[in-house]
């Protein structure tokens, strides 16, 4: 099986400093796989994601479906940490926004897809509300639905649940996992939360800080979707403490 996303000695240095933010990152991500990337702040997690999204220049090579990445691609959708919804659009309008920009779909098909997504992210009751009338968790659901709407082959997520309370966060983790598994989406998920990384990832990549390098990799052999109870299992704890130790050294 050929990789969906492949990174070969990717590096990144911001102009004034001599030290690279990212250094010699090599990764292969296969179709349908979820890779979570965890690391201390300053390890360049978000920068890495921006490079993969084609929104920042880098050295080395990044390829998606065999094609080099130099600018944003239609087959890739990004979910940012903050929901970044257009405040003057309702839930429906915001979910359709990505499709509209890509412009590859007739209006009727767009509308149909939005209706499906409203059910998927459980926002049918809030379809005509403006972002100011939605809770943080609901806003993040809209954000995710907007990304899913363009039917990406690769989903990039930059700490999407970082700002949510613990309960909304767990709910959304479980829902996201269901969706990603059902659609066999290739997902790269950035987080600083160890348990989130273990729960969602087929593989967890640990980045070290300054410069950002791959410090460790952990395969989480547990079929998806995983129930939330799995978080309470001994096996989960083992993964957790392994990563915790790695992060102490990173």
């Amino acid at each position: 099986m050929s990789a969906n996303v492949s990174l070969t000695s990717v590096g990144k240095t911001f102009a004034p400093g001599p030290r690279p933010v990212l250094d010699n990152i090599n990764m292969e991500i296969y179709p349908g796989e979820t890779v979570t990337v965890i690391g201390p702040s300053g390890s360049g997690k978000s920068t890495l994601l921006n490079c993969i999204a084609g929104m920042e220049p880098y050295s080395g090579a990044i390829a998606i479906d065999g094609e080099p990445v130099r600018k944003p691609r239609r087959s890739v959708a990004m979910v940012f940490q903050a929901p970044h919804l257009l405040p003057w659009r309702t839930t429906v309008g915001n979910i359709a926004y990505g499709m509209e920009l890509q412009g590859s779909l007739a209006k009727d098909d767009q509308r149909k897809r939005v209706e499906d997504l409203l059910d998927l992210v459980k926002l049918r009751h809030a379809r005509d509300r403006y972002p100011a009338q939605l809770s943080g968790g609901m806003q993040q659901r809209v954000n995710i639905a907007r990304a899913l709407a363009v039917r990406p082959s690769v989903l990039l997520m930059d700490e999407p649940f970082g700002a949510l309370d613990a309960i909304s966060k767990e709910h959304l983790q479980a829902e996201l996992q269901g969706i990603v598994s059902a659609q066999r989406l290739t997902t790269i998920f950035i987080t600083h939360d160890i348990s989130e990384a273990v729960f969602l990832g087929d593989r967890v990549v640990v980045l070290s800080a300054d410069p950002g390098r791959i410090a460790a990799e952990l395969k989480v052999e547990q079929p998806r979707p995983r129930p939330l109870e799995w978080k309470r299992s001994a096996e989960f704890q083992e993964f957790y403490s392994f990563l915790w130790k790695e992060l102490q050294q990173a």
Partner: protein
């Protein structure tokens, strides 16, 4: 409240800590909306009545100050002989054409200058110079270049009212939420699509406040250019009436200017509130 009283007050408040949070104190009677409106109305009526009284009692010379009733009579006279209608029409035409051009130029120019640094580098020094100088000083030049004509008047109105729109739209464009711009780009949005879907909607409040200022400036432009470039319209009416010591007619012109400014800004505010319903959540 003395210091001792204040102390007991604080102590009491402290002792009541266990009680649930007190409801908001009742609003003072004079803060209710109906009351403030009534006071504002009364304020206007009192001033008008005092004016009328002073004029009819001979405290002031009615020839110079006119009086509310005198203004009404002057208005009636001007309406009956048809002068007011044609003056208002000619001023409205100048105002409409001038402000319309100013809005179009200001909005398009503002987006171009705010969005592209290079365009800004070219035009910004000129905006800085023109926006901070008294543009009325250019009037003699306009007179020389365009003569006493409608186009000269329009140039004056545009010149005076374009900058509030332009500067406001530039500011709004620079303040656009960069995160939303990034988001749009991440979905492969073209430059034009980003401008249309992110920039333009977020510009509305800036645009409206620019237009609101421009309405006032355009009225100044209309009156000034009518004073000096042809003596037509409401401005002309005011100048001529002043020269003939018809203070009643002067006030008719002033009242029309004041009313139209108030009505237009009011309508604009209402329109903006309707457009930006999403803001209130």
């Amino acid at each position: 409240m003395s210091a001792a009283q204040e102390e007991t007050f604080v102590a009491q408040a402290g002792s009541e800590q266990a009680a649930p949070v007190a409801a908001a104190p009742p609003r003072q009677w004079w803060r209710r909306k109906g009351v403030t409106t009534a006071i504002s109305t009364a304020s206007v009526i009192v001033v008008l009545a005092a004016w009328q009284l002073c004029a009819s009692q001979g405290v002031v010379d009615e020839k110079l100050t006119s009086s509310p009733w005198g203004v009404v009579q002057a208005a009636r006279f001007l309406i009956d002989n048809g002068q007011l209608g044609s003056d208002v029409a000619s001023s409205a035409k100048l105002f409409g054409v001038g402000l319309g051009l100013a809005i179009v130029i200001g909005a398009i120019g503002g987006v171009l200058i705010g969005w592209w640094r290079l365009v800004a580098a070219v035009f910004e020094p000129w905006i800085a110079i023109l926006y901070s100088m008294p543009l009325i000083a250019l009037l003699p030049l306009i007179l020389v270049w365009f003569g006493i004509s409608f186009s000269a008047e329009v140039v004056m109105v545009v010149l005076i009212s374009v900058f509030p729109v332009l500067v406001s739209v530039i500011t709004g464009t620079r303040n656009v939420d960069q995160q939303l711009v990034r988001l749009a780009r991440s979905f492969c949005g073209s430059e034009l699509a980003v401008i249309r879907t992110v920039l333009l909607p977020s510009l509305i409040p800036y645009f409206v406040s620019g237009v609101r200022l421009a309405i006032g400036s355009a009225l100044v432009g209309v009156v000034v250019s009518e004073y000096f470039l042809g003596n037509g319209g409401i401005g002309g009416l005011i100048v001529t009436a002043g020269e003939n010591l018809q203070s009643g007619e002067v006030f008719v012109g002033i009242t029309i200017l004041a009313l139209s400014a108030v009505v237009m800004t009011g309508l604009l505010r209402r329109a903006e509130r309707r457009i930006s319903q999403w803001r209130n959540g």
